[in-house]
């Protein structure tokens, strides 16, 4: 494994960069999109709730690979030309957003209704109350499941390999097919994934201790 890492250091490092880049973009994007759909799911308007619910149910029940392939094949055919990295990252973002929407919705529903009433009673609007009072409490409450989603997201980014996204898994496939040392190559790839996921895992645990128990 050491020889693989030393001989293909450049490719692995580049793969790590693409994986990290895709994960960070997808994470931020899915958090924003997920929060929007979570808010739609709890809307007082029936049709808004309907749209939110439909989005979540459809997206989370289709395999990630299918969604990603969809973006890779359909978008360039009918709209604009996008590369594998972009298609993969968008697919990952959309797929994860459905799970994040469900997580955040559960968090919002766990915040007592008194918090909203307290905020509305001093004249805050619904969105002010959401932004300043409800969402901060909801997110804190769902830090542990949110951490799971983030770690899954990083690991799921390996889907980029199927659409030529230059990520870790993609580089691993190429190295394995040229060196024929499949075992050591994927062992090295696994270690590189751990370099991202382990600190992320510890960060989420740290936040959990700091916020959830406060």
């Amino acid at each position: 494994m050491i020889t693989i890492i030393t001989e293909h250091w450049g490719e692995l490092l580049s793969g790590l960069g693409y994986t990290l880049g895709s994960s960070v973009i997808a994470l931020i994007g899915s958090l924003v999109i997920g929060t929007v759909f979570a808010l739609m799911e709890i809307s007082t308007y029936k049709w808004v709730r309907g749209i939110g619910r439909t989005y979540v149910e459809i997206i989370r029940n289709i395999p990630l690979l299918v969604i990603t392939m969809g973006f890779y094949v359909i978008v360039p055919t009918f709209f604009v030309k996008i590369d594998g990295f972009t298609a993969g990252t968008i697919g990952l973002m959309i797929y994860t957003s459905a799970f994040i929407a469900e997580t955040i919705r559960a968090g919002i529903e766990a915040v007592s209704t008194g918090q909203m009433e307290g905020a509305r009673s001093v004249g805050l609007t619904y969105s002010q109350a959401m932004i300043h009072i409800i969402l901060p409490q909801a997110v804190k409450m769902v830090i542990p499941p949110l951490g799971n989603q983030f770690i899954n997201l990083v690991k799921n980014s390996s889907v980029l390999a199927f659409v030529a996204g230059f990520d870790l898994m993609y580089q691993g496939k190429i190295i394995a097919s040229t060196t024929f040392n499949t075992f050591d190559t994927y062992l090295a790839v696994g270690v590189f994934y751990l370099i991202i996921t382990m600190p992320l895992s510890y960060l989420m645990r740290y936040l959990e201790k700091k916020w959830v128990t406060a």
Binding site: Q115, G118, V122, G123, Q137
Partner: protein, 245 residues
Amino acid sequence: MSMIEFHDVEKYYGKFHALKDINLTIDRGEVVTIIGPSGSGKSTLLRTINGLERISDGKLIVNNFDLADKKTNMNRIRKNVGMVFQHFNLYANKDVLDNITIGPELVLKRNKTEVEKEAMDLLDMVGLADKAHNYPAQLSGGQKQRVAIARSLAMQPRAILFDEPTSALDPEMIGDVLDVMQQIAKQGMTMVVVTHEMGFARKVGNRIVFMADGQILEDAHDVNAFFDNPQEPRAKEFLSKIINH
């Protein structure tokens, strides 16, 4: 001048008739206590005044705003009518000072340092200046309720609604909260208080409303006369039950 006017107000939850033909006019500066058995509609009545519950029929005028009109902006009413809840409803993610300042800052768009200075004065008034940077979870029930009152006062409202403000408190905490309420009453604030504290109703209130089954059965301006000699049999029964214990 009247602050709150109910005219033939009805409120339904589905088929349940929660408020029946409510007619009540509350003048500025009045301290009205609403008493009655649980489930009689006291809290519902209170919550309609700042639009937390919408009325089903009739007319409700608060601070010259028509609450039955769908076009009325509820936030403009809530700016002028504060509310203190049984379970305090302090923002768990904000410290005591921020709990008080967020309303004036976001709703009244006032200057932060100015608002903070006023908030400290209010905390001083309720005896909690040293708790400004504590979080609600670190306070006792009585302290939380006093912060909630300060939060309501920070908006400089025309009236404050109190929904059983002492019902969730330990007995030894009740006095502190009632003292603060009495102080506010003395300053001429219009107050509508749903309570089981008959001492407060008698000492501080200058009017008492007795409700049962969603109706106002007695509306007495002479509070002592009401307690000494209630007219309604239901009021008599209610008073005998709570005062003999």
